[in-house]
C-alpha cells in the first residue's frame, strides 16, 4: 500500500470500526436487539432514557458536572468528619482506621472523582463549541468515558462495604498498600476503582486530542484557540502520558494484591521506592492536570469581565506549554527525604524552581489584564478573582517546599496540607466561577445574582479560615488525629472555616438548582465582551451546535452554508459525490452500549476485587466478562455515524483521518504504559545489582520462537492489508486467519513455557525476578489476547465481504498488532537474553 497521498478525509466515519450500514447478518438476535436499541432521535431532556443513551457532548458535559458535584458532597462530608475529629487534639469521634480511611478516600475523591471530572464537564460542554465542532471526534467513546467514570465512583463507594476502604492515603505508599499490611477486600476494590477511572481518562484523552487537533473551524489555528481550549489541550496531553504511568503503577499494585507478585515488597531491592517513582511521575503532572482547566477558566473570565484582551497572550500560552513539558521532570521533589542521591536532588530542585517561574508569568499576565479594564464584579468574576488571589498564596508557600532544606522539615506536616489546598482549592474556586460563567449557556437561565455574590463572601472567608490556620499550625503532622495540644485553637478555627466552606458549596449547588426554574431567561449572550464562539449561538445551543459551518476565514466568526462552495476552492479538495452524501447525512447521537459496557465493567471489577477469596466474586467476574463481551459486540456492530468536518484547521495532523490518529495517540499512551513496566524492571534490576539478577527462563529458544511467530504474524497482517486494497477477499481472509493462528501459536508456546516453570516451582510470587518476568510478559500476552479477540470480530465480517471498499479497520488493527510485535522485540532480549 503506497500512502503518499493522504487518504480521503471527508467521508462519513463511524467510530467503532465498521462502515456498512446495511448489514448482511440476517435476522439474528443481535440485529433485532440492534434495531431495538438504535435511535435516530434522542429522547427529550426530561426523560431518563435520554441521559442513558446520549452521546452528545453537551449532555455528557452536564452528566460530568452533576456527577462530580455529587462527589464533591461525598468528599466534603468526609472532610468535615475529619475536621470534627480534629476539634480536639486527642482521638474522639473516629476510630484509627476510620480516620485513615476518611483521609484516604477524601483525597482520592477530591482529586480524581471531583476536581478532574468537574473540569471535564466544562471541557465536554465548551470545547467543541469554542473550536466550532459539532461534537467530539468519537462521541460514543465519550459517553463510554463518562459511564466508566461514574461506575468507577460507584465501585469506590462499594469498597466501604467490603470490610473497609483503602487506608493508606491517596498517595497509596508501598508496601503499606499490599495485602500483608492492608488485607481487606475493600482496599483492592479502591485500587480497581482507580484503575477503571484511569481507563476512562485514557479514552477521554485520546478523544479530546483527536478532536482538538483535527476539528477546529477554518481559520482557528492552534495559536488562535481560546485560552480555555488551550488549557484543555495541554491538560489532555499531560493526561495521556501521566495517567499511563499511573495505569502501570495500578496494574502492578493490583497484581501484587490479587496475583501475589512481589514488586512492592521486593526484598533487598527498593520496591517501596519504585512505587514512589511511579506514583509521583504521574502525581506531579496531575497537579497541573487538575489546575490547568481552572487557569483557562480564569483567563476567559478575566478577559470577559475586564473587557480587556489578555496581556501577553502568547507568553501565557508559551508558559503553559513549558509547564506541561516540564511537569514530567520534577517528580522527585516529592522524594527529597528518601534515599535518592544528592545529585538528583539538586537536579530536581532546579527543575522545580524552573517550573514555578512560568506560573509567575501567568499570574502577572492575569493581573495586568485588569489594568485599564472595565471590571464588572459579577459572581463568576468574583470567584475566579478570589481563586487567583488564593492561588498566589499557594504558589508562594510552594517555593518553600522547593527549597530542599525547608522541605526536609515541612514535609509530612500541615504546611503541605495548607499549601496544596491553597493551590488546588484555588482551582476549585475558579471552576466554581466557571460554573456561574457558563451556567446561562448551559441552562438558558441566569443564576441568582445576589445569592451568588453572598455565596462568594461566605466561600472566601470560609476558605481562608479553614486553610490559613493550617499554615500557622504547620507543625501538626499530616494524617494524624492527635496533635500537640498547644495547636488546638488553630484547628478549631479551621473546623469552623470548614463548615462555612461546606455551606458555601451547598449554596452554589442550591443556586444552580433553584435557578433552573426561577432564574431569569437568557437568550444568547448575557456577557458583554465575551468573544468565544459558544456565546454566538443560542443558550442552550441546539443539538448540533451551529446554524452553519463555523469559520474564521474572514478574520472573525461566520457561519457558512452547509454545502459550501468554498470547499471546492479551498485547499482541501472534496470529491463531488461525497459532498453530496454528507449534505443529507445525519449524525447519530444515541447509543445504549456505553452504559452497558459501564455496568459490565463495574460487575467485572467488583468480581475481581475478591476473586481470590471465593464466594460470589468469581461468579461476578464471569458475569462481568460475559455481559461485557456482549456489550462490546453490540458496540462494535451498531451503526453509528459521525461526520468529520470538511473544512478546518488540522495542524499538525493534516493528512491522517480521525480514526487513525486516535489509534496512534492511544498507542503513544501504551508506549508509556509498557515503558513504565520496563522502567520498573530496570529500576528493580539496577537496585538488585544488574548482573546478579537471574533470568527466569532457562533458555532463550522458546522466546526466540515466539519472536519468529510474532514477526511472521505482522508480515501476514501487512499482506492482508495489501490484499484488501487489491480487493482480494480471499487474500484478506487468509492473511487475517493466519495471523489469528500465529497469535494462538504464540500463546500456546508461552503457555507451555510457563507451565514448565510452574512445575519447577517458579511462580509469580517466588521472587522479584519471577514477578517482573511473569507480569511484564503477561501484560504483553494480554495485549495479544485482545488482538485475537478483535481478529475474531474482523474475520467473520471479512468473510461476508467487508473491508474491501474500506480497509481502514484492518489497517487500524494492523497498527495495534505491529505495536504489540514491537513491544515483544524489546521484552524478548530484556527477559530472555541479557
Amino acid at each position: 500500500m503506497t500512502e503518499d497521498q493522504p487518504r480521503d478525509d471527508h467521508e462519513a466515519q463511524p467510530d467503532g470500526g465498521h462502515t456498512h450500514r446495511s448489514l448482511t447478518e440476517g435476522a439474528t438476535t443481535t440485529s433485532t436487539l440492534r434495531e431495538f436499541f438504535t435511535r435516530d432521535h434522542l429522547p427529550p431532556m426530561e426523560s431518563v432514557q435520554r441521559w442513558l443513551l446520549t452521546t452528545n457532548h453537551k449532555d455528557v458535559g452536564i452528566l460530568y458536572l452533576v456527577t462530580s458535584l455529587f462527589f464533591l458532597v461525598f468528599g466534603g462530608v468526609l472532610a468535615l468528619l475529619m475536621r470534627i475529629e480534629l476539634l480536639t487534639p486527642v482521638n474522639s469521634v473516629l476510630s484509627a482506621t476510620g480516620y485513615n480511611q476518611t483521609v484516604s478516600i477524601h483525597g482520592l475523591i477530591m482529586i480524581f472523582w471531583f476536581l478532574s471530572p468537574f473540569a471535564f464537564g466544562f471541557a465536554n460542554y465548551v470545547v467543541p463549541l469554542q473550536i466550532g465542532a459539532k461534537d467530539l471526534a468519537f462521541p460514543r467513546l465519550n459517553a463510554l468515558s463518562y459511564w466508566l467514570y461514574l461506575f468507577s465512583g460507584v465501585l469506590l463507594g462499594i469498597s466501604f462495604f467490603q470490610g473497609g476502604s483503602f487506608e493508606g492515603g491517596w498517595t497509596m505508599y508501598a508496601p503499606l498498600n499490599v495485602p500483608s499490611y492492608m488485607p481487606n477486600i475493600g482496599s483492592t476494590t479502591t485500587v480497581l476503582a482507580l484503575l477503571l477511572f484511569v481507563i476512562s481518562v485514557t479514552m477521554s484523552s485520546v478523544n479530546f486530542l483527536t478532536t482538538l487537533h483535527r476539528m477546529r473551524a477554518k481559520g482557528l489555528t492552534l495559536l488562535r484557540m481560546p485560552l480555555f481550549t488551550w488549557s484543555i489541550l495541554l491538560t489532555v496531553w499531560m493526561m495521556l502520558f501521566a495517567f499511563a504511568a499511573l495505569l502501570a503503577a495500578l496494574l502492578i499494585l493490583s497484581s501484587d494484591r490479587i496475583l501475589g507478585t512481589t514488586y512492592f515488597t521486593a526484598e533487598g531491592t527498593p520496591g517501596s521506592l519504585l512505587w514512589t517513582h511511579l506514583f509521583w511521575f504521574f502525581g506531579h503532572p496531575e497537579v497541573y492536570i487538575v489546575f490547568f482547566p481552572a487557569l483557562g477558566a480564569m483567563a476567559e473570565t478575566f478577559q470577559t469581565f475586564t473587557g480587556r484582551r489578555l496581556v501577553g497572550r502568547k507568553w501565557f500560552i508559551l508558559a503553559m506549554l513549558l509547564v506541561a513539558l516540564q511537569s514530567f521532570l520534577v517528580w522527585m521533589h516529592h522524594m527529597f527525604l528518601t534515599s535518592i542521591n544528592l545529585e538528583i536532588k539538586t537536579l530536581f530542585m532546579a527543575t522545580t524552581i524552573g517550573i514555578s517561574l512560568p506560573f509567575d508569568l501567568m499570574v502577572f499576565s492575569l493581573i495586568y489584564t485588569m489594568v485599564k479594564g472595565r471590571i464588572r464584579f459579577t459572581t463568576p468574576f468574583l470567584f475566579t478573582f478570589g481563586g487567583l488571589l488564593v492561588f498566589i498564596i499557594g504558589g508562594i508557600t510552594g517555593v518553600f517546599l522547593g527549597a530542599v532544606v525547608l522541605d526536609y522539615q515541612l514535609r509530612g506536616t500541615y504546611w503541605v496540607v495548607a499549601h496544596f489546598h491553597y493551590v488546588m482549592v484555588a482551582g476549585v474556586t475558579a471552576l466554581i466561577g466557571a460554573l456561574f460563567y457558563w451556567y446561562p449557556k448551559i441552562t438558558g437561565r441566569m443564576y441568582n445574582r445576589r445569592l451568588g455574590k453572598a455565596t462568594f463572601g461566605l466561600f472566601f472567608v470560609g476558605f481562608n479560615l479553614l486553610y490559613f490556620p493550617m499554615f500557622i499550625a504547620w507543625e501538626t503532622p499530616r494524617r494524624v488525629f492527635d496533635y500537640p495540644a498547644g495547636l488546638t485553637p488553630w484547628h478549631q478555627l479551621a473546623t469552623i472555616g470548614g463548615f462555612m466552606l461546606g455551606v458555601a458549596f451547598l449554596l452554589v449547588i442550591w443556586n444552580c438548582y433553584w435557578s433552573l426554574w426561577h432564574g431569569e431567561k437568557v437568550e444568547g449572550n448575557p456577557w458583554e465582551y465575551a468573544t468565544t464562539a459558544e456565546w454566538a449561538v443560542p443558550s442552550p445551543p441546539p443539538l448540533e451546535n451551529f446554524p452553519g459551518v463555523p469559520s474564521y476565514d474572514s478574520g472573525s466568526l461566520d457561519f457558512l452554508d452547509e454545502t459550501p462552495e468554498a470547499s471546492t476552492d479551498g485547499g482541501t479538495a472534496v470529491a463531488g459525490d461525497q459532498t453530496h452524501e454528507s449534505g443529507d447525512h445525519h449524525d447519530s447521537h444515541a447509543s445504549p452500549w456505553p452504559f452497558f459496557i459501564g455496568v459490565a465493567a463495574l460487575v467485572f471489577f467488583l468480581g475481581l476485587s475478591g476473586i481470590s477469596t471465593g464466594g460470589i466474586y468469581p461468579a461476578l467476574t464471569i458475569v462481568g466478562v460475559v455481559f461485557g463481551a456482549v456489550s462490546l459486540l453490540g458496540f462494535g456492530m451498531e451503526s453509528f455515524s459521525v461526520t468529520e468536518p470538511e473544512l478546518g484547521e488540522r495542524w499538525p495532523f493534516e493528512g491522517i483521518e480521525n480514526g487513525k490518529l486516535g489509534v496512534w495517540i492511544f498507542l503513544a499512551s501504551d508506549v508509556v504504559l509498557f515503558g513504565a513496566f520496563i522502567g520498573s524492571y530496570v529500576f528493580l534490576r539496577v537496585g538488585y545489582g544488574w548482573t546478579d539478577w537471574q533470568l527466569v527462563p532457562h533458555d532463550p529458544i522458546p522466546g526466540l520462537i515466539n519472536t519468529y511467530i510474532l514477526l511472521t504474524s505482522s508480515f501476514c497482517i501487512v499482506l492482508a492489508l495489501v490484499a484488501a486494497e487489491k480487493n482480494s477477499r480471499w487474500g484478506l481472509i487468509a492473511g487475517l486467519s493466519t495471523t489469528l493462528l500465529l497469535g494462538v501459536g504464540f500463546l500456546v508456546n508461552k503457555g507451555i513455557e510457563w507451565v514448565e516453570l510452574f512445575h519447577e516451582g517458579i511462580w509469580l510470587s517466588s521472587n522479584v525476578q519471577a514477578s517482573t518476568f511473569f507480569l511484564t510478559t503477561g501484560l504483553h500476552a494480554l495485549h495479544v489476547i485482545l488482538g485475537l479477540l478483535i481478529l475474531l470480530f474482523l474475520i467473520p465480517r471479512a468473510i461476508n465481504g467487508a473491508y474491501l471498499d474500506d480497509e481502514r479497520p484492518v489497517e487500524y488493527f494492523g497498527l495495534y498488532w505491529h505495536f504489540v510485535d514491537i513491544v515483544w522485540l524489546f521484552l524478548f532480549p530484556l527477559f530472555y537474553i541479557i
Partner: protein
C-alpha cells in the same frame, strides 16, 4: 518539653546565634539552619505576597466599572473575533525577571545550606551512631554496642548520626524539636544527624501514614548530660545479651495484626547487627 509551636514563636526565637551559624562554614545541623532560613523565606514571602495581592486588589478597585466609565475609551473585545492578546510583553518580562531573581537567589542560598547539612556530622567530633528502625508502630534504636531500645537516649552536645530503615512499611522519622526528619524505608537506609544541645525529654514521631497506629507512633528522645549518658551506656554494654527487657520502657503502641510479618521481615533488614537478638526484641514488644 521545650518545643516551640507556631510561626511567630518560631521566627521570634531567631537570634544572633543563628546568624552566626549561617555564616559558619560547616558542621551545621538542620536545627541550626532551619529557623533562620524559614524566617527569611517567611518574611520575603509575606512581603511579596502583600505587594502582589495589594497591587491586584488595588487595580481591581481602580478599574471597576462605574456609571461614568468611558465605554469607548479603548477598543474592547468583540464577540466572534479571533482570540488575540493585548501587548504588554515588556511589563511581563520585567515582572518575571524580578520574581525570578528573588526566587533563584533564595533557592541558591538554600542550596548552599543544603550541601552543608548533607555533609553529615563532622568526624572530628566523634559522632554517636545510632541505627533506627521503624516498625509498625514504634521506633527501635540500636547502639554501637548492640543495645536495643525504644527510647532514644543521647548525650548533650555531641553529634548524633542516625541511620534509618524500616522493618515493614514506609515510615518517616522526625524529632520536631530538633528540626530533624528522614524517611525510614524498607530495604533502604537513609542518614541524618543532629546535635542535641539541651537536656530534656523530647518526642520523636512518625510523619508518613503507616497504618492504624500511625498517629500514636511516637517515642521519647532523652537528651542527657554526658556523664549520665556514659554511665547509662556502660550499663547497657555489660548486659548486651539481655537487652530485651529494656524495650519495655518505650512508648510502644502495638497492634497485633502485623506482628508476624514484623518478626520475619526484621531478619531481612539491611542493617547489620546481631539478628537473632533483634528478632527477639521485635517479638517481645507484643
Amino acid at each position: 518539653m521545650s518545643v516551640t509551636y507556631g510561626l511567630t514563636t518560631r521566627v521570634a526565637t531567631v537570634n544572633s546565634h543563628h546568624i552566626e551559624l549561617l555564616l559558619q562554614a560547616n558542621g551545621r545541623t538542620m536545627n541550626d539552619v532551619f529557623s533562620m532560613l524559614f524566617g527569611v523565606f517567611l518574611i520575603l514571602g509575606t512581603a511579596v505576597g502583600i505587594v502582589v495581592i495589594s497591587y491586584m486588589v488595588y487595580n481591581a478597585y481602580k478599574y471597576r466599572e462605574t456609571p461614568d466609565s468611558e465605554v469607548a475609551e479603548r477598543e474592547r473585545p468583540q464577540l466572534g473575533e479571533l482570540p488575540q492578546g493585548s501587548g504588554g510583553g515588556k511589563k511581563l518580562a520585567i515582572s518575571l525577571t524580578i520574581s525570578a531573581v528573588i526566587v533563584i537567589a533564595l533557592i541558591a542560598w538554600a542550596y548552599i545550606v543544603l550541601v552543608d547539612v548533607e555533609a553529615g556530622a563532622p568526624e572530628s567530633e566523634d559522632p554517636l551512631e545510632v541505627q533506627v528502625e521503624g516498625i509498625q508502630f514504634s521506633w527501635q534504636y540500636e547502639y554501637p554496642n548492640g543495645h536495643t531500645t525504644n527510647t532514644l537516649r543521647v548525650p548533650e552536645d555531641r553529634p548524633v548520626t542516625l541511620i534509618l530503615t524500616s522493618g515493614d512499611v514506609f515510615h518517616t522519622f522526625g524529632i520536631p524539636a530538633y528540626d530533624l526528619k528522614a524517611d525510614a524505608i524498607p530495604g533502604q537506609t537513609t542518614e541524618t544527624w543532629f546535635r542535641p544541645n539541651e537536656t530534656g525529654t523530647y518526642e520523636a514521631q512518625c510523619f508518613e501514614l503507616c497504618g492504624s497506629g500511625h498517629s500514636a507512633m511516637e517515642s521519647d528522645v532523652i537528651v542527657m548530660e554526658q556523664e549520665e549518658f556514659d554511665q547509662w551506656y556502660a550499663e547497657t554494654g555489660s548486659e548486651t545479651n539481655a537487652t530485651t527487657n529494656n524495650t519495655t520502657d518505650g512508648s510502644a503502641t502495638n497492634n497485633s495484626t502485623a506482628n508476624d510479618s514484623t518478626a520475619t521481615t526484621t531478619e531481612n533488614r539491611l542493617l547489620d547487627g546481631p539478628a537473632p537478638e533483634r528478632q527477639l526484641a521485635a517479638t517481645t514488644r507484643q
